[in-house]
Each structure stands twice: as structure tokens, then as C-alpha cells.
């Protein structure tokens, strides 16, 4: 069977729905040693900031049941190096780039959006809203307040080249993910990515101290999949026309089916890249087989199937 795997994220078309999650695949170079990165839908690059960032102190990770806590603090070399070294490399290998950007305020987000979208060959910009909002007295993230999140999205949208779609990256541990999603879409996000890591903590029972530096870390991996699927389902129900990149604990092709049935147009593989460096290629293969065995001819037909009864049953 010749399954049509193509999907759209606003104006961008990807050859298939399997992409990497931001911060879980670098800019594709390391994983390219394990599979041909031009075969997957896109590489979402690690959130890039304007300046180099050293990230957070160690220990930066702890294993938890079916998940991990991490706190890398967006370490990276800054946008100059990214645009001169990492992005060209990815494009030279035939990869597609969804570039994740992270700013410390509106000015930075605007400049990042402008510079990244001016670079040739960027398929989409993903806005990492899980960054501390300098205007918030409690040090909350932009994502924690729909108005702040919308302001960032609006800034990015107005600074980015108009043909480059802007995806807003949402978190699950917010008061109301549908309200947040709606605010971002009203601020002209072309699509939504969800979910980011969920705030969590572990205590090292040997030292009786928090297991990651700073205490709170971001929980990722299959443990959070039900939270992620729930968010995708509810947001797709409320905003059925908005493309969603679903992520959170995707490990197999069946998990990709689950996210797409819930309403995602594309599915990102994050933590699983750590445990299986060829995971993206495997998930894409398993996903393709899953469509074939169900007789689904076009991947887009699966999107939101769980909202309709009788589809593919």
C-alpha cells in the first residue's frame, strides 16, 4: 500500500508526522550517526537563545518511574553559532528544521524570530514559552499566564517572515490549557506544540537531598503521556482547525497513533531519543505499518479520529 504520510503545519508541509522534540535531539547531528535524518518529518532544534548560555549546575538529571527529571537550563552557544554552524549542517543533510527559540523577554524573542526566519530553509519556528517572564514578580513562566504567552507569540509572529509558521509550545501544568491555547491562536500562532516537561521533583534517598540541582526539574517520558494526550485531546476539541505537534512520552508507532487520534497532526519524539538513538526512524516505521495494517491511506485521516466515533474501528 502506498500510504500518504504528508502532513501540514500551517503553511509548511512535512513528508511525514514524526519529528524530534526540542532539546532532545540537538540539531540532528548526533542522531544522524544512527539514522538518516532527512527521512523524518523534521528536526526540532534545541531552544536557541540570543546569547550563549551555560545552563544549570549539576546534577542535571534523575531517573524516575517511566520518566526522567531534567534541568539543563537551555545551555547553548547562542543564535550566531546556531545559524552559522548547526542549521546549515542540518539543511545540508536534507533535514527539515523546526527552530525552537527561547528569549528572556519580548525584545529577544522578536530579534530571534527575525533572525531565524530570515535564514533560508527554516520550516517553522517553535516558541518555547517555558521561559521565566521577567515581568512576573513570582518568576513564573510566560506559559503560566495566557496573556503573557499571547504577547510573546504575537511578538514572534510580527517579527518572523510571514511564510514561516509559528508554533507555540505549551505546558500541561497550567491553570487551563485550552484557555492558553486559545490565547496563543488569537495571537496568530499557526500551530501548537504540546506538551513541555511537567514540574516535578525527586529526593535522592541516599543523600536525602533533591536529586537535581535547584530541586524542581522537568518530568518527561512515557510517565507523562496521559497528561499530554489529555491536553492534545482537549485542545483539538476546542480548536479543531489548529495543527498540533503532540509530544510527551512517545516511544512507539502506536503512541504516535494515539497522539494523532487525539488530535495531533505531527508527533515529536523526545526523551526516547536518549534511550534509543534510532527511535525516530523506528517510530516512523512502526507508525507507517500501523496505518497500513488499519487500511488508513492518508496519515491526515487519523488526525482527531478519537473525536469521531466509528473511525478506523
Amino acid at each position: 500500500m502506498n500510504t500518504d504520510l504528508r502532513i501540514r503545519l500551517g503553511p509548511a508541509e512535512l513528508p511525514n508526522p514524526v519529528v524530534t522534540a526540542a532539546g532532545c535531539a540537538g540539531a540532528g547531528r548526533e542522531l544522524a550517526r544512527f539514522f538518516d535524518i532527512s527521512t523524518i518529518g523534521a528536526v526540532t532544534t534545541k531552544s536557541v537563545m540570543l546569547e550563549p548560555h551555560a545552563g544549570r549546575p549539576a546534577p542535571r538529571m534523575a531517573e524516575t518511574p517511566s520518566g526522567m527529571l531534567s534541568t539543563t537550563g537551555m545551555q547553548g552557544p547562542g543564535v550566531d553559532v546556531f545559524l552559522q554552524r548547526d542549521l546549515p549542517w542540518l539543511l545540508s543533510r536534507g533535514g527539515r528544521a523546526i527552530v525552537s527559540i527561547a528569549g528572556t523577554g519580548m525584545g529577544e524573542f522578536g530579534e530571534l524570530a527575525r533572525r531565524v526566519s530570515e535564514a533560508d530553509g527554516v520550516s517553522a519556528i517553535e516558541v518555547n514559552l517555558a521561559c521565566p517572564d521577567p515581568a512576573d514578580p513570582g518568576g513564573r513562566y510566560f506559559v503560566d499566564d495566557p496573556a503573557s504567552a499571547a504577547a510573546v507569540v504575537s511578538t514572534v509572529r510580527s517579527h518572523a517572515r510571514s511564510d514561516v509558521p509559528v508554533l507555540a509550545k505549551l505546558s500541561a501544568d497550567v491553570p487551563d490549557v485550552v484557555e492558553l491555547a486559545t490565547a496563543c491562536v488569537e495571537a496568530r500562532a499557526d500551530g501548537l506544540s504540546m506538551i513541555n516537561t511537567v514540574r516535578g521533583m525527586a529526593i535522592d534517598t541516599r543523600t536525602l537531598r533533591p536529586a537535581v540541582a535547584g530541586g524542581i526539574g522537568g518530568l518527561s517520558g512515557p510517565a507523562i503521556r496521559p497528561l499530554a494526550v489529555g491536553c492534545v485531546y482537549r485542545v483539538h476539541e476546542a480548536l479543531p482547525d489548529v495543527p498540533i505537534v503532540g509530544m510527551g512520552g512517545v516511544r512507539t508507532g502506536e503512541d504516535a497513533v494515539e497522539f494523532m487520534a487525539a488530535g495531533a497532526s505531527a508527533v515529536a519524539v523526545g526523551t526516547t531519543n536518549f534511550s534509543d538513538p534510532s527511535a525516530c526512524a523506528r517510530v516512523l516505521r512502526q507508525f507507517t505499518e500501523a496505518l497500513e495494517s488499519r487500511g488508513v491511506e492518508r496519515a491526515v485521516d487519523l488526525v482527531g479520529a478519537a473525536h469521531r466515533s466509528g473511525v478506523g474501528a
Binding site: F34, P52, P57, A58, T72
Partner: protein, 299 residues
């Protein structure tokens, strides 16, 4: 995809042996064996496909052999969930292995005198190193330390391969009571060592680097940081290391290491972000430093 890069293979276990306080597992992994250079490591998936422990466990490669197209051996102590599971493997079970990973020990061009210092299971990568050095005509001396006699690694092999082999244990149950650094200076003197190689816990590496420095001998250390991916994509394994340009960067010990020049590692700052590290809070890099950054490449 590249020929020198690591491979991921499901490989059959050839055997599992107990060696004192350790287990030794040999797997048939031709792709790993043929690419291997001493100092490199493998990561192993633990617990099976439906395990709640997601992360791969890293282990130094202790030996490679040409049998069955290429075998790889690693040794480990049972510490937690993953190593307990590994210790229960039997021959013919399949393990998901990725390797060889990391920057190998740089080898001297000339036949110089090398002292190899290992702590506990950290001695593992020193054995293939010793062989490689011997093949280049180097003199090899061993200093191996551990908590107790059953944790001293392959003492017999060490004695066979090396010119001299000195052992230390914390409890004095084997060799000298004390730390490797208590005897290292003497060994360097007596063996007229030109280079030190060390692998073990961070405090040991720091002390070894200090002793080597006192004797004016260069030292290569192999660190054992916790690693979520081992392939360079997660940024959880970073330590502060001074680059050739004098700039401190938080570098990944899995791909930029695990082997580093000892003097370059800012041991005092491991676990923190030194204020002068590239991109540290408040750091203001010059245009020049940033340009230099662009020129650097991923190892």
C-alpha cells in the same frame, strides 16, 4: 551512518561471569568491536522493552576480542536497578548496546613511560589502554585502588601486562592501606613516568591530577558523570573544562569526554557553573569569543 561513529545493535550475551565483587558480561558486537579505541564506552538498555527504567547505563569497554566477528566485554558492580538486572542476564539473552562512544585516550606517538591509575570499577578502561600502549612500545605501570580487596580490578592481569603494579585498599585488605595518590608520586619517580592516565571517581581524578602536576607529568583523566543519553543530545553530563583558548565551557562528558586532559578540568567547580564559564549568568562574551565558538565543532 558514518563509519567511525557508534552503532546500535541488539547483541547476544556470550557469557556472564562473576569476578570478585564484579560481573563481567561479554556480548557479540562486531560493529562495536571493530570501531573501538581504548577509553571508549558502551551504553546498555536495561529492563527490557516495558521497563520503567528508561535510561541506558554506561560502561567502559574492558576488552574486545575477534571471536564471533568481534566481542566486547564490560565489567560492573551491582549498584542499583540497572546493574542488578544486568547481573541476571544469561548467555543468549539479547542486550541493546550502543557504542563505541566517547573520546578515546590519546596515545603517545613515542614509546614513553605511562602510569595507569584506576579506582574501583574505574580501572576497567585501563586494561585495553595498557595493551594499546604496550603495542606502541610504551612502558606501563599500574596503580589500582579500591575500597577492599574484592573490589580491586583484575590484579593478576595488571601484574602480567605492566612493568609494575601497585595496589591500595581503603581497608588495607589488599596491597597498601590508603588511596592511590598515597603511592602515585613514588611510582612516577621510580618508573620515570612521562604520562599519567586515570579513571575513577571525581575526587580521585582531582587528586591524581594534583600529584601528576606536582611531578610535571601530563595526565589524561576519564570521568564517570551520570549520563542520560551518552550520545551528546541531552546536555545532562556537563562539567566545566578549560578550552585551548583559555575559555571555560560546560562540555558534555559523553562526546567531548569522557577523557579529558586533567589540568583542563575545573574539578573545584564540578557541580556548579563557574562565573567565568561561557554563557554563565552575567557572562558577557566578546564578539571574538563568540566567533571562536562558531569555529568549534562537535567532536
Amino acid at each position: 551512518m558514518s563509519d567511525n561513529g557508534p552503532v546500535q545493535i541488539r547483541c547476544p550475551v556470550l557469557n556472564v561471569r562473576r569476578v570478585d565483587a564484579y560481573y563481567a558480561i561479554t556480548v557479540v558486537a562486531p560493529g562495536v568491536a571493530e570501531r573501538f579505541r581504548s577509553g571508549q564506552f558502551v551504553t546498555v538498555g536495561v529492563g527490557g522493552d516495558h521497563s520503567s527504567t528508561l535510561l541506558r547505563r554506561p560502561f567502559a569497554i574492558h576488552d574486545v576480542k575477534p571471536d564471533y566477528g568481534g566481542t566486547v566485554e564490560f565489567l560492573f558492580a551491582v549498584r542499583g536497578t540497572g546493574t542488578a538486572w544486568l547481573s541476571e542476564r544469561r548467555s543468549r539473552d539479547l542486550l541493546d548496546v550502543v557504542g563505541p562512544l566517547g573520546r578515546p585516550f590519546p596515545l603517545p606517538r613515542d614509546p614513553v613511560n605511562c602510569v595507569l591509575v584506576g579506582g574501583g570499577s574505574g580501572s576497567a578502561p585501563l586494561f585495553p589502554l595498557a595493551q594499546a600502549l604496550r603495542r606502541r612500545g610504551c612502558r606501563v605501570d599500574f596503580v589500582l585502588g579500591a575500597a577492599s580487596s574484592d573490589r580491586v580490578f583484575s590484579a593478576i592481569t595488571a601484574r602480567r601486562v605492566a612493568e609494575t603494579a601497585v595496589f591500595t585498599t581503603d581497608d588495607g585488605s589488599f596491597g597498601t592501606r590508603g588511596q592511590v595518590t598515597d603511592v602515585l608520586g613514588r611510582v612516577i619517580e621510580e618508573a620515570r613516568s612521562d604520562a599519567v592516565y586515570a579513571c575513577g571517581p571525581m575526587p580521585m581524578l582531582r587528586a591524581v591530577t594534583a600529584v601528576a602536576g606536582e611531578h610535571g607529568v601530563p595526565v589524561q583523566v576519564s570521568v564517570e558523570e551520570t549520563m542520560a543519553c551518552g550520545t551528546g543530545i541531552c546536555m545532562t553530563c556537563v562539567i566545566p573544562v578549560v578550552g585551548e583558548d583559555g575559555v571555560t565551557r560546560m562540555v558534555r562528558s559523553c562526546v567531548d569526554g569522557p577523557v579529558f586532559r586533567g589540568e583542563r578540568v575545573r574539578f573545584d567547580d564540578v557541580g556548579s557553573i563557574p562565573f567565568d564559564a561561557l554563557g554563565a549568568p552575567g557572562w558577557k562574551g566578546s564578539k571574538a569569543a563568540r566567533a571562536a565558538e562558531s569555529a568549534r565543532d562537535i567532536a
